[in-house]
Symmetry: C2
Subunit: 337 residues, 2 copies
């Protein structure tokens, strides 16, 4: 069922594929890099597995190959950009870079982006900011896929939020959606014939359930922390929508396909204070404290956000990535035909 | 058991009390205002009920009456301040105001504050930013009171996070700690002889429980969304600690009394884009959508973050606040003796 694919092979196949589907060589390389990197980090669901769906969106005209984000207006450290319905990945790279530049100039920079598309793995842009020595706080809205607490219908997006902090021994990267489990993960449990370890969404009667099939049917995930994740999702949608003057989760739900989402890219330069060593020590102190524990499960441990993602990358760079044969065949078909 | 206290009476009694305990008239008025306002909003636990504890901290010398926050350094839109162990409330007001000023000048402003003290209700500063037409993103670290996911011992704070957005018909103010239930709330369930509606912490064997007594014994609350709230708490602690070069949850846990915490005050000026009406409409659209639902419970409804807090204030301004007679007697004693 699984095939081992090396980094370089995936990059090459994907670059050909994206060029074949109308992207410039430069854009195709960026896209190939992001899908490969996401797969290296072990997030196949937002890396290689997502490529056929992305190509489908391109074919439907929801993602415009020749468009990209442009600045609309700005003042001081805040700017508003329009994604012109180009690739979400390419737009997000551009806006993360812009927020980093603003942060280096002003200590802090924010780009609010409207009319963009799915950026695949949110965490990618957090790693990107951290690689350039910036703190990143990034989020997107999505189509409705979880209820506002107290109501039955899906009225909120799972609105992934990333917070990243640069660190010499491995960046801190929190990448979390507002649902307890991502729909990709829920699908994985279904494919494995397993129940979720905790309640993760609602069944048709509005009751909480661990059954992945029921949740995939209702498309109604559980907000993290019940009313708290519901409220956090709502304010993230508001911030992304207001700051970009873009489309809200409400608007995204009016169409049968998600496109033209709103996002926020906020970067800060911690070197503003010229004490990188002190900051590094403070961070190590926090990590050491959270890892000095009696494990909940035998042989268990705690992880800092980003720790396992980095370990996956190191392992996959060495041993190759495990990719579904079915998905890989689809992709080589798309690249060759 | 409860007494009805009017706004003006509480302000007067508290002002006398704070002056009597060594605060200047100006500071005493600010403190009285914040404790009263928090009680008007229905959050007695972080308003009037907290006054005796605060006075106790002053007496122990953990809060210095004559000290307040001062700027240490800054660049562009980011500044670092030192709270000099003054009152957390007075420091937080000063730093919120400073972040608002920076936001009006640069579109966005951030103040990282170290060596400050408990700011009582986090939401207060969110309402304050919104009243001055700013978006506020504010958080604090705390002493350890919940486990890092995967470990048994408390290694993380519940680190309250506030996100506020100005709105004509009532500001949006999310004010949430990273534990599923506050310890004040858990205590309330215990006093009422009730179980929690959802699992809210750990028992002595490290199992999740709805029993409030067990959680109050272990002092180990459940992070919202299990591993997600754990990770979010950790990054908020890191951000507050690194940006302020202050004390982390780890450091706060070394002392038997919590003092000298680290906080972040980030404000944005949404009027940067000169389209307040459009933004207002986008917000109403989101709220209307999340409230157009089939309720989960008969006669239930959904609320936007801040909705119930505002309703409490309007009600309490009209009818007076319901205050525990025991607490009120303690306070009048402290003010008179």
């Amino acid at each position: 069922m699984f095939k081992t694919i090396q980094n370089q092979e995936m990059l090459e196949v994907l670059t050909v594929l994206f060029i074949k589907h109308g992207f410039s060589t430069e854009k195709a390389k960026q896209l190939a890099h992001v899908h490969t990197e996401n797969t290296l980090h072990g997030v196949n669901s937002h890396g290689i597995n997502r490529v056929p769906f992305f190509i489908d969106q391109v074919k439907r005209g929801l993602v415009k190959q020749d468009m990209e984000a442009q600045k609309v207006e700005g003042f001081g450290s805040i700017e508003r950009w329009d994604g012109n319905l180009g690739s979400g990945v390419i737009n997000a790279i551009k806006c993360t870079n812009r927020a980093i530049t603003l942060a280096k100039e002003n200590g802090m920079g924010l780009v609010a982006l409207r009319n963009t598309n799915h950026w695949m793995r949110a965490g990618y842009y957090g790693w990107m900011a951290a690689e350039q020595n910036c703190i990143g706080i990034l989020f997107t809205n999505t189509e409705p896929n979880m209820p506002a607490w107290g109501g039955k219908e899906a009225r909120l997006g799972n609105n992934p939020l990333v917070i990243s902090i640069p660190r010499k021994k491995g960046h801190i990267v929190l990448d979390m959606a507002m649902t307890q489990f991502s729909f990709g993960k829920i699908n994985q449990y279904k494919l494995n014939g397993e129940q979720l370890p905790y309640e993760g969404g609602f069944d048709e009667n509005g009751n909480l359930t661990k059954n992945p099939e029921e949740i995939l049917t209702t498309k109604s995930g559980l907000p993290i922390g019940y009313w708290k994740g519901s409220a956090l999702s709502m304010v993230l949608d508001m911030l992304a929508t207001l700051l970009s003057a873009g489309r809200s989760t409400y608007k995204l739900g009016l169409d049968s396909h998600e496109y033209g989402v709103s996002q926020v890219f906020l970067c800060m330069d911690p070197n503003t204070f010229h004490d990188a060593n002190l900051q590094e020590n403070l961070m190590e102190e926090i990590i050491a404290y959270t890892q000095d524990i009696t494990p909940m499960e035998p042989n268990g441990k705690t992880y800092y956000p980003g720790e396992r993602s980095l370990a996956n990358k190191i392992n996959n760079q060495k041993n190759g990535m495990q990719v579904s044969e079915e998905i890989w065949n689809k992709i080589t078909d798309l690249a060759n035909k």
